[in-house]
Amino acid sequence: MKTIDIKVIDDVISPVSDFPDSAIKIIFNGTEYVVYEEGDELPPEPIYDEHEQL
């Protein structure tokens, strides 16, 4: 697992470097980009549907 720092240009948050090609999942957590690669334990998937299931 790696992290990538951020920069802010014109009120838009961006990574300071390119995302690595080896990444399998990237999450911006509010402060930095967290890069998950092969072999890293992935975080649980977010619950996307908050509506009541029919």
Binding site: A23, K25, I26, G30, P46, D49, E50
Partner: protein, 276 residues
């Protein structure tokens, strides 16, 4: 039996009833009595090919050599023949986008090795290089999720080399998003050179699949982009976004996301980009 007259008018006859054995050329195969035979390389015929190598800069003027002279251009990795006035390529050259020939002779084809999934073919029209097919230019390697912030956050950045799009070119972006399905707004933006092209602010969705087209309008510095529509296609009372980004210079396309509630999640699951 066959017959023909030689140059002196003498009738020559040939008896084919007992044909000579046919020798196999090294590396070729043939059926002999139903059995596959492959010739060996043990005793190849001596072949000597002499071709002079030149870099593009070292290339002599085509009218200073005899018509029919052939050389090998080491810069673009292609054999060339002089027609007495210019050099004609005898195959497909290759180059990176940045180092391609400044002139694009009519009909000559070049493989641009660093543009497209495994390179791309371009053909000269006498003035510039024109792509022969649409190009899959970019494919996102992994999903990029946004949470914990209400700021606008970059989810993907695509570098566009100078003059790649062309005056009549279009960039087609196919993003696929997932999001927390609730009443909180999520905003998706596609920016060209820092200017908003496509903007969609909406709520109540768990997935969004869109097609966003950035169109150059017969100029490398005039673009129009449909905006505000959920899928990027269809009707809208919103005006087109008109941009004035000079794509004759290198620029970028950015996909950004923004949450109204930082507890939600917006994920760019996939994105691929074509240039047509």
């Amino acid at each position: 039996m066959s017959a023909f007259l030689d140059e002196t008018g003498t009738l020559i006859t040939v008896d084919h009833s007992n044909p000579l054995p046919v020798a196999l050329v090294a590396g070729f195969t043939s059926l002999n009595d139903g059995e596959l035979k492959t010739a060996s390389y043990a005793n190849p015929l001596p072949v000597t090919v002499v071709t002079t190598n030149y870099t593009e800069e070292e290339l002599p003027d085509a009218d200073s050599v005899a018509a029919g002279t052939e050389i090998f251009n080491t810069t673009y990795q292609v054999k060339m023949r002089s027609n007495g006035t210019s050099w004609e390529w005898l195959g497909i050259g290759k180059s990176t986008w940045a180092d391609k020939p400044a002139t694009a002779p009519l009909g000559q084809i070049i493989c641009i090795t660093d543009i497209g999934e495994n390179g791309s073919l371009w053909r000269g029209n006498g003035a510039k290089w024109v792509r022969l097919t649409q190009i899959r230019f970019f494919d996102l390697a992994s999903s990029v999720a946004l949470t914990g912030s209400t700021a606008e956050v970059t989810l993907a950045t695509i570098s566009i080399p100078a003059s790649l799009i062309g005056a009549k070119g279009k960039v087609k972006l196919y993003p696929l998003f997932s999001a927390t399905n609730n009443a909180n707004n999520k905003t998706v933006r596609v920016r060209l050179g820092g200017s908003n092209g496509y903007v969609l602010q909406t709520s109540g969705f768990a997935q969004l699949s869109a097609l966003v087209i950035i169109r150059n309008f017969n100029s490398e510095s005039v673009q129009k982009v449909a905006t505000g529509m959920t899928s990027g296609l269809g009707l809208s009372t919103t005006s087109l976004n008109t941009l004035a980004i000079n794509t004759a210079a290198a620029t970028t396309i950015e996909i950004t996301g923004q949450l109204a509630n930082g507890a939600d999640t917006l994920t760019l699951e996939s994105l691929f980009v074509e240039i047509v």
